[in-house]
């Protein structure tokens, strides 16, 4: 157990217990921190988008104040989603071949198309239709380079007549409806990348895409909670408690369903106890003790479930400030817990030999191609992009307000 922590925090020599195939006795794991971050970022995108869709498709008015922020969050993270994959490749200069000469049976190749579809056909288009009116307005009122950006973003479509705006709304609604299955597909496919590996009992599992989608929704809502509170704090504005309570409610139910499905997975594995089960037990008891039992289950699931569950029962008796703090802490803990979940899946699958006769510990790099430093940098990048997007598109005066035609008008379409 101590080895696990020391191997995460400092560099120690690789350790092998039992027998592993000679090709597995490498100093570094084949997939490392970057591949942990990749499903994490993609999940945040899908989750943030699905939360935004609650406003558009299901007309949840309470969440309207965070609609635009959630969409921009999804965009900022989606722009960085393939970066960890790209950096991890042995030949990143050949990356375009995944799109140009895809091998259609490969989950990774199909992911490229799902990603492109989601970015170009769903997210960018929906954002454009939502912001178009504002682009036209801002391009007239903002001088200089920023005004030029808005002008370019109108793509020359400056008609803001009632008929035109109605068409915008209709398109947004259609795109949201297309977007929900697309978001499920996007992250379901990431789960399938692992779930399709039948050689690895830790990964090869039909529940894997479902668990990935559910944890994605949870992490996406948690990120929106986190961003919303941080943004209002930075801008010295007051938090809309109705909105925050609604987010906390959805977060609670999503987390509950996620926890139930993950428990079901554990129970099923225990009951079936197929080949390699003994080595999976070792993973849970020893190799992943801290990151799984404490990080993912304890900090990432049970504590937030208790806090958010208590808030559902006693919402009116808890003062606003306490509620806000509790929801913020739950969001942050869930974000940490889901990151741990990604770590447990990706690294857990590489901590044991496919001969099921031995386990490995790896020396994690600090710098290097798959090192902590690069991982942290990639994790920071979406936040930097989001800051720019928020500066450009969520102006302080009308910040965090829903688009004018939202959501009342959208329901009429």
């Amino acid at each position: 157990m101590i080895n696990e922590v020391t191997n995460i925090v400092v560099e120690t020599l690789p350790q092998i217990q039992g027998y592993v195939y000679p090709n597995e006795s490498n100093v570094h794991p084949v997939w490392s921190v970057l591949i942990v971050i990749y499903p994490y970022i993609t999940g945040l995108v899908a989750g943030a988008f699905i939360m935004a869709s609650l406003v558009r498709v299901f007309n949840v008015k309470a969440l309207a104040p965070v609609y635009r922020m959630s969409m921009l969050t999804a965009l900022a993270f989606l722009l960085c989603a393939t970066l960890p994959l790209l950096c991890h490749l042995g030949h990143p200069e050949r990356n375009y071949e995944v799109m140009m000469t895809p091998h259609m049976t490969s989950p990774m190749a199909i992911f490229g198309f799902v990603y492109a579809w989601y970015l170009m056909a769903v997210l960018l288009l929906e954002l454009w239709f939502d912001f178009r009116q504002d682009f036209v307005k801002w391009s007239k009122t903002t001088p200089g380079f920023q005004g030029l950006i808005y002008r370019v973003l109108t793509l020359g479509v400056t008609d803001v007549s009632e008929q035109s705006v109605r068409l915008d709304m209709k398109m947004e609604w259609i795109l949201s409806i297309v977007g929900i299955p697309s978001a499920f597909l996007l992250h379901g496919y990431v789960g399938f990348i692992f779930g399709s590996i039948k050689a690895n009992p830790w990964w090869g599992n039909v529940l894997m895409p479902i668990m990935f989608i559910l944890s994605a929704i949870v992490s996406g809502i948690a990120l929106c909670v986190f961003n919303y509170i941080v943004l209002t704090w930075i801008r010295r504005k007051t938090v809309n408690m109705r909105c925050l309570d609604a987010m906390a409610m959805f977060l609670f139910y999503a987390l509950l369903v996620d926890a139930v499905i993950e428990t079901l997975d554990v129970l099923h594995r225990g009951f079936a106890a197929e080949e390699g089960f003994a080595v999976l037990q070792t993973m849970i008891r020893e190799k992943l003790f801290y990151t799984l039992n404490i990080g993912q289950v304890g900090i990432g699931t049970l504590v937030p479930l208790l806090m958010l569950g208590a808030l559902q029962l006693l919402r009116h008796r808890v003062p606003e400030a306490v509620r806000r703090t509790m929801i913020f802490c739950s969001g942050a803990m869930i974000l940490f817990g889901v990151l741990m979940m990604r770590w447990n899946v990706v690294m857990g699958g590489q901590f044991f030999s496919k001969s099921f006769r031995g386990v490995m510990s790896y020396k994690m790099e600090f710098s290097g191609q798959e090192g902590w430093l690069l991982g942290a940098a990639i994790m920071c990048l979406p936040f930097i992009i989001l800051t720019v997007l928020v500066k450009l598109f969520l102006s302080e005066s009308e910040q965090l307000q829903p688009c004018e035609h939202l959501p009342e008008n959208s329901s009429k379409t």
Binding site: N23, V30, R94, M100, M108, D159, I197, A199, E275
Partner: protein
């Protein structure tokens, strides 16, 4: 009205660009399909992969664990030093059961130091830690790419750099591999690795440069015990070793439950071998 047309034309233009991209992608896919057929393998000109069906058989009773095969493979194929092997030898030591334990055998002890490659003419395998009278069985198992009929590694390769040739060999085009290591994860037999020099995936190719010139793979050529038997199912001759192997033995494959249908067949395999 003018603006309406503007929007429509903007959308049309975007649609056109997307269609163009998809067409380009389809064209490239077609090109890749052709490339898979005429891929730049190490086969000589005129070699017709459709006229052969290669098969590797391993008579596990015969392997003496000398490790010459693993050594020859490294030399023949320029495999880097370190934990990178296209083929290797595993040693299994099955202890006798503890008296009164009610078991048929003790827990197997498996090792493969440096893939079984001898060092300075001395066997790579150290003396067993168990006294000889406590050992029930001890045997060696040569391992290599299992030449699956349904190779999971080929299934997951995002660019089609790894493929199954019509002659049964599973090959990699190193000029095409992007080094994502998905295939390394997907191989149930641990037969693949990322070459630290070329940064591409690598595995046993059955010495494709040799077999396509009527030579045997290096490991088969050097095996002093004739534990490795190699042949062409489409061109069997009267006293072909493959034919004899089939007639003499009942055969088994590794991890049959995964449905990979390996073309590497083992005789006298123990249940402990995975």
């Amino acid at each position: 009205m003018k603006n309406q047309i503007n929007r429509r034309s903007s959308l049309l233009r975007m649609g056109g660009a997307l269609a163009g991209l998809l067409t380009l992608s389809a064209a490239k896919t077609a090109k890749a399909a052709v490339q898979t057929v005429f891929v730049s393998t190490s086969a000589p000109k005129g070699y017709d992969p459709t006229k052969h069906k290669w098969l590797m058989c391993i008579d596990d009773n015969k392997c003496i664990g000398c490790g010459l095969c693993a050594e020859a493979c490294k030399k023949e194929n320029g495999v880097p030093e370190g934990p990178y092997f296209r083929t290797w030898i595993e040693r299994y030591i099955i202890p006798k059961p503890k008296p009164g334990s009610g078991e048929t055998r003790g827990e197997a002890i498996v090792d493969s130091p440096n893939g079984g490659i001898p060092k300075g003419g001395v066997s790579a395998f150290p003396e067993p830690t168990l006294p000889k009278d406590q050992i029930e069985h001890a045997f060696f198992v040569p391992k290599l790419c299992n030449l699956c009929e349904n190779p999971p590694c080929v299934q997951v390769c995002p660019v089609g750099a790894t493929f199954k040739a019509p002659d049964g060999a599973v090959l990699i085009d190193p000029k095409y591999c992007i080094g994502c290591a998905f295939c390394v994860q997907a191989c149930p037999y641990g037969a693949r690795f990322l070459n630290p020099v070329t940064k591409t995936a690598e595995k046993c190719s059955l010495c494709y440069h040799r077999i396509t010139r009527n030579l045997k793979p290096a490991c088969v050529e050097i095996c002093p015990a004739e534990a490795r038997i190699f042949g062409d199912l489409n061109n069997l001759h009267a006293d072909d070793p493959i034919q004899k192997f089939y007639e003499k033995n009942r055969v088994q494959v590794l991890k049959p439950h995964l449905g990979t249908e390996p073309r590497v067949l083992y005789a006298a395999l123990d249940k402990e071998v995975r």
